[in-house]
Symmetry: C2
Subunit: 142 residues, 2 copies
Amino acid sequence: MKGEYKTKPRHLIIEYLKANADTRFTARDILNAIHDAENDLDRSTVYRNLERLCQEGVLIKYKETDINATCYQYSENHGSCHDHMHAQCSDCGKIFHLENGILDDAARKMQEEYGIDIDYGKTVLIGICSECKSQKKMKSGK
Amino acid sequence: MKGEYKTKPRHLIIEYLKANADTRFTARDILNAIHDAENDLDRSTVYRNLERLCQEGVLIKYKETDINATCYQYSENHGSCHDHMHAQCSDCGKIFHLENGILDDAARKMQEEYGIDIDYGKTVLIGICSECKSQKKMKSGK
DNA sequence: TTGCGTGCAAAGGTTTTGCATGGCA
DNA sequence: TGCCATGCAAAACCTTTGCACGCAA
């Protein structure tokens, strides 16, 4: 069976996930973060654990157009992320779990007008969150 | 200035784009397709041209989660793709240009409930198109 | 002791970059 | 003739895989 042993590397990775539960991260982010004084871990270990965590539903996995790497995001509601949509801030990477009701009307219209059935679990809406928006305003002096 | 010369490699690439205007493709797709009898071109030429075409607004560029490569899609309405949403079939890769009206209600609700401003130009809704759906039905014998 | 998880090394794939050459204007 | 675009080669990435060893149970 998989996931039976409690090992130090896996523990370190999960620590990282929880500490960064509200942003996206890459395999490299983890490697850099844990390349500390007494801790270090291997690339393949990170990739293998991330892959497992995705299959367990703990993580969402996707690609970012700007950076050339796979991004991951911690998902609080384990395993239930396949049935609702997500929105992501293009600035900080934070992901929002949306109630489906919000998009039902739009999805019906798309079905009618374009013949396309939207897959809630695979779709990620891109936007900018209120936090980042107010930060930008501050920087631009408005 | 850029893009002043009409060269054969660039011409071949643009030919390919137009012939495949209704699907996504990768740099590799182009390389494989043009590796013909008398024509051949270099990787870097393809990448450099694709990059330029993106900046000119002729192409949309994005990453696919399943495959480890950047995808491109021809955009008929040059340069205007930044202001409306797209939907893509997860099966065949075809992209649909959506009228914004369809999502205005949903976008307003998201702003109210989550504080996030959806960026129409960056968002790609994932779903399955009617063509692929009927093909799947046929295969499953229904 | 058993066998899962890790570390190591190597390989495979995509994408980028420097430099000399070729070809369009 | 200028100078942009290409081709070539090499490098930088990210990611995957095989194999032997260590360690949790």
